[in-house]
Amino acid sequence: MSTQPPDGTEHGAHGGVTPGTYYGHGLPYLSVDRYPGKIIAIEGTDGVGRSTQIHLLREWLEVRGYGVVETGWTRSPLMQPTIELAKSSNTLNKLTFTLLYACDFADRLEKEIIPALKAGFIVLADRYIYTAIARAGVRGTDSQWIRRLYGFAIAPHLVFYLKIEADALARRVLEGGGIAYWEAGMDMKAGDDIYDSFKSYQRALLKEYAAMADEFGFRVLDGRKSIKAIQEELRRQIGEFLEGAEDVVRT
């Protein structure tokens, strides 16, 4: 799927887009066609183990001589303080929430992701736009509007989705230190009980992710498996993909 050249036609805001090109209207002032780098996104709900997997992948790729850049949700220098502040107060509605995320993503796209692609690096993305689409979807945002909004995003070369059910996830998150307010979707005011709210919120999120799997070509992995088993599967699929991608920088 990565070897097709960009076909130069106007893409819709949905899947079926050539990896490494914009999903929709893109950034007209910034052409990204034929950049040698690759985007590998790891998606999945809170507590499913994305960060651990990315950490391990990074080591493995670097040992093999690839240049690696990591980018993570809400970590842009421009937006991080604002998002933290907004989350700690109660002033956001679903629209402002969505737009803050989009701004964070745009900042990282232009400052981290695109320069890395240009330089032939592998970008490991801890969550991608699908997290924003899932969260907005659960909160009732128009699904076409949010897809068009993220029309400035670049379609990743590989998207792995770590799938897990809400029950298993709840136990894992509790073992990891407890359920946080936003992970439980408490802003949706489904009730005062954080466990029940977590379960129903995560279930709704999982439904959104499942609906996107075909649309955006997710490679679905079983998130209940051991860290090692998941890592092996990731390495196998990424290794296979990179074999055919000779333009990526290797030292």
Binding site: T82, L85, T96, L100, A106, L149
Partner: protein, 183 residues
């Protein structure tokens, strides 16, 4: 009556200020930050007074974004889609001035043009007044498109303030009379 101003919400103030100070905003983050500001003000300052039957006077509206963001190279259709959450105003008035008048007025009231105001982020010219002229003429071209597309009422802003105010009041009175009949 309720007044709301462009880029005034507390929510994104810190990010906008920090981004501007470091000249770290790109056309896209500039656009999205302003959309977030607008969304926040719509939530707190536009919809509640509308529901209470008040008149909301907005100093700039989404059209500012349509003109400026597109002048910076953001996709024209994308930015319109982005703002599809915005309430359509009952009356939108565009105060039109030629580029020279706009430049003279700005230079007269201030020592220095601001970085983003002058479009210096675009690198068209390192000379602020020249950069402003290039940027602003693109902005004005976009406004000219917006007038028929969104039915903006145009007031000639080269005239005296008294004249402009007379024209403006006539437009508003006419609109209010029509709205009153319709309701």
């Amino acid at each position: 009556m309720f007044v709301t101003e462009w880029n005034s919400s507390a929510l994104v103030k810190a990010a906008t200020k920090a981004g501007k100070k470091k000249n770290a905003l790109t056309p896209m983050t500039f656009s999205l930050l302003h959309a977030t500001d607008f969304a926040d003000r719509q939530l707190y300052s536009i919809i509640p007074p509308l529901k209470a039957g008040m008149i909301v006077l907005a100093d700039r509206y989404a059209y500012t974004a349509f003109a400026r963001d597109v002048a910076r190279g953001v996709d024209r259709q994308w930015v319109r889609d982005l703002y599809s959450f915005a309430v359509q105003p009952n009356l939108a008035v565009y105060f039109r001035v030629p580029i020279d008048v706009s430049l003279d007025r700005l230079l007269a009231r201030r020592v220095k043009l601001k970085f983003y105001e002058a479009g210096l982020d675009m690198g068209w010219s390192s000379q602020p007044s020249e950069s402003f002229r290039i940027f602003q003429s693109k902005v004005l071209d976009e406004y000219d498109r917006l007038v028929p597309e969104f039915g903006l009422s145009v007031v000639d802003a080269t005239g005296s303030i008294t004249e402009q105010q007379r024209e403006f009041r006539a437009l508003v009175s006419e609109k209010l009379a029509v709205e009153r009949v319709e309701s």
